[in-house]
């Protein structure tokens, strides 16, 4: 997935859409908005980012999971199988992006890239709802996917690349 920081206005629609699509309880979220302000008045810059699980290629959460609940699904999406999760929280501690939360029902929960929608040929809920169309989703192995095309065209960065997790969430800058 790619997030265009030049278009995101930080409205948090992605957050509500995810909550209502995925039954995320009030008070928790699988995605969130970060705003970074730089400079002094009136020489200012803001970067606004819609953030979520980075679905890392080298995911510490999968490595450290004692039960195998955290796993790679087809296409590289990192998933938690709720029934196998014992809620130990090792994955939460290992994630450099703080992308996971303990669900009140006793398991750990996080962004699934709405795999249940993607399976049906739909986009993730956050991507479908975004009023600024700042979210691009698709198969990075397909050179013609929305996300591949925009990453070729634009400058981008990833978050905390030094953690070595090979994150798959790209921020267009």
């Amino acid at each position: 997935m790619a997030v265009d920081t030049k278009k995101c206005v930080g409205c948090s629609d992605c957050v509500v859409a995810c909550q209502t699509e995925n039954n995320v309880p009030i008070g928790y979220c699988r995605d969130w908005v970060t705003e970074v302000t730089d400079g002094t008045y009136p020489q200012l810059e803001i970067e606004i980012r819609s953030e979520r699980c980075n679905h890392c290629e080298n995911a510490p959460c999968v490595r450290c999971c004692p039960t195998g609940a955290s796993q790679f699904a087809e296409g590289g999406i990192v998933l938690v199988e709720h029934d196998r999760c014992i809620g130990c929280g090792a994955c939460i501690a290992s994630c450099p992006y703080d992308a996971r939360y303990p669900h009140p029902d006793g398991y750990v929960d996080k962004c699934t890239f709405c795999i249940h929608r993607v399976d049906k040929g739909l986009k993730p809920a956050c991507v479908s709802v975004c009023p600024t169309k700042c979210l691009y989703f698709g198969d990075l192995d397909d050179p013609n996917s929305d996300v591949s095309v925009v990453l070729k065209k634009r400058k981008w960065k990833t978050l905390i690349p030094e953690a070595g997790t090979r994150p798959q969430l790209y921020f267009l800058i």
Binding site: V16, I26, P42, I46, H82, V129
Partner: protein, 745 residues
Amino acid sequence: MRTTRRQFIKVSALGAGGLALAGSSMKWTAASTLLNSLTGGVEPTRTPTYCEICFWQCAGWVYKDQAGNIKKIIGNDDDPHCNGRLCPRGTGGVGMYADEDRLKTPLIRTTVDGQDTFREASWDEALDLVAKRFKEIGAQYGPETIALFTHGSGGSHFGHMLKAFGSQSITAPSFAQCRGPREVAFLATFGDIIYSPERTDIRDTKCLVLIGSHIGENMHNGQIQEMSDAIDKGASIITVDPRYSTAASKSKFWLPIKPATDMALLLAWMNVLIENGWYDKEYVERHTVGFEQLKAHVKPFTPEWAYGITTLDPNMIRRTAKEMHDASPSVIIHPGRHVTWYGDDTQRLRAVAILNALLGSWGRRGGFYNPEKAHVPEFPFPAFPKPARTPRESYAGKYNLANEVVSNGMVDATIPSEGNTFNFKAWIVNGTNLLASLPNQANTLKALDALEFLVVVDTMPMEITGYADVILPECTYLERYDMIRKSGHREPNIAVRVPAAEPKYNTKPADWIARELGIKLGLEAFYPWKDIEEMLDWQLQQLGTSLEEMKRIGVKKFPREFDDLYFTEGQDISFNTNSGKIELYSSDMEAEGLPPMPVYTAHEEPPSGYYRLIYGRAPMHTFSRTANNPNLTDLMDENVIWVNPKVAKLWGLKAGQYIKLRNQDDVLSTFAIKVRVTERIRWDSVYMVHGFGHDNKKLSRAFGRGVNDTEMITNVKVDPAMGGTGMRSNFVTFVTEFDEKEAKA
């Protein structure tokens, strides 16, 4: 200030019946495993609606799970208002339905042991009482002394009932507290208004100029989407704002103007465009009158002149004028929406209109398009009786250019005063929390105290409901039909709202409430339809569709019948102004004894130690009506006050500290507000989001959270042209020592 007779009741005591949480849509059974949730899915049912969380009224689909609970709302792909993408408030509309603090049953004011309180009542009893009082007041003072203050879809139902009863005293704060000055200014200049959704062709613009308009924080869905498209296509954005708004951060040019000096900048831009010949000469010659007068008028207003007033670099003023010229005619000097700022707002919006005329953007691609509405015939009913007096007569001789009824004019006329024989005696207030939407609360409270009868129809216990004699709980938009949405757009279109669920608790749809009341008032003849379904179906049949079809598609578009989307090049146009031309020199303004061309007036400055109070919007909230919505409160549950770091240092304010505010008239805020120390605000101003600081304990999530900006707005500058209430001449200082218990909920 609390009134004596009309004691504020925090909808409590006898009233709060049935804290029933059953059926909350927030309580879906969580899927036991993710993998389970991916299999065996039954297609959920979907019902068409259009959103009621704000005035943009995006059409969407309401999805329910198998248990029949409302689960999510998704935009309708065919809807030009939203293009399949709702904003956070629309997506969070489920929270309005689920909110357990909703009004649940009719309530009637009563006195127990000398204390005012509400008691529960049946619909029959409550409506009987309203009908009885309306008949009495109608007989004694005339039906036209019963007024309706409204915002949103309920207005057409209550308006119909009231008109049938003989009153056309109907108003909405969306005019004189919001967009009125722009409509009046554009009407005077181009002979037409901006409408809602705005006719701005942002999609195809090359240059978008925002003056205090913070698109992206105000979540006017279609405009955000088009601004984003324009960014993709490389359009330049120029933002004028004392605050580094989200829009400013997306802009090629940000002009950090000194607040209250916008007019000086607008005049300087006119000067630069004209002096350099950077205006559309053919367009100006063909379509406008008064160019020579305007040229002479703006000659002294050089960028250097404006520099001393606005603090903006003169070269930047020239550079941005050139940017507009280069984009012309695909340029939009955006008229904004909430524009009641300083009391000369019609003048300022006239300046905006004139700039657009000079750049030739009105009626041009990438400027302003010609919207067209679907013509929806009305179900036949008898002609309304002619009211003995129109609402304008209550403020006769004032605000003559207003093209809608002036709410504050009617509020003032409710307070008895010498010489005014037209006083309103009863109000119906529907969907607008007047204590937050009208400035100068003391004045509003005086009017409430003067009323003989107040009916409030709402979904939530707001501040205004506490003053009611009768509270009628309407159901949310997700539980009812309403009239056909028919706003103008590039393509004429309609949208329907169909109930996705039965009304929760003992609530009723507005159309039912108004009709039952109408029948009790003996107005059966005005309701010749069996029910709203029959009426809607009849209307839709006239349009070649049906309620049955609309339930399946939600939105229907029609071909344009009248003019084109843009003017035809080289053709003369007849404008609906006195001269038939675009009036750079306004005959309307002149006839009212107002300057026919915009003039700069210096506005009040903050006293020492005070800061100008600027307020605005957050994308996840609408006015004060969403502050208790569980989904949206989850995103933002209080407003904060933005303070420049220099100012914070001076006052010893720390980020995260709670403070109270005191304004220039010594009004102390009821609650405390959290300090946000940020470089994004000028040192002479502070900023907060409107709609917080609720003072009704029945709002369990919103009570006491943040400060109500309206409480601080006591210095109101009324626009003589159209009655708009200028609210930006209020100044606050910081109060760091106060009783903590009292301040925090």
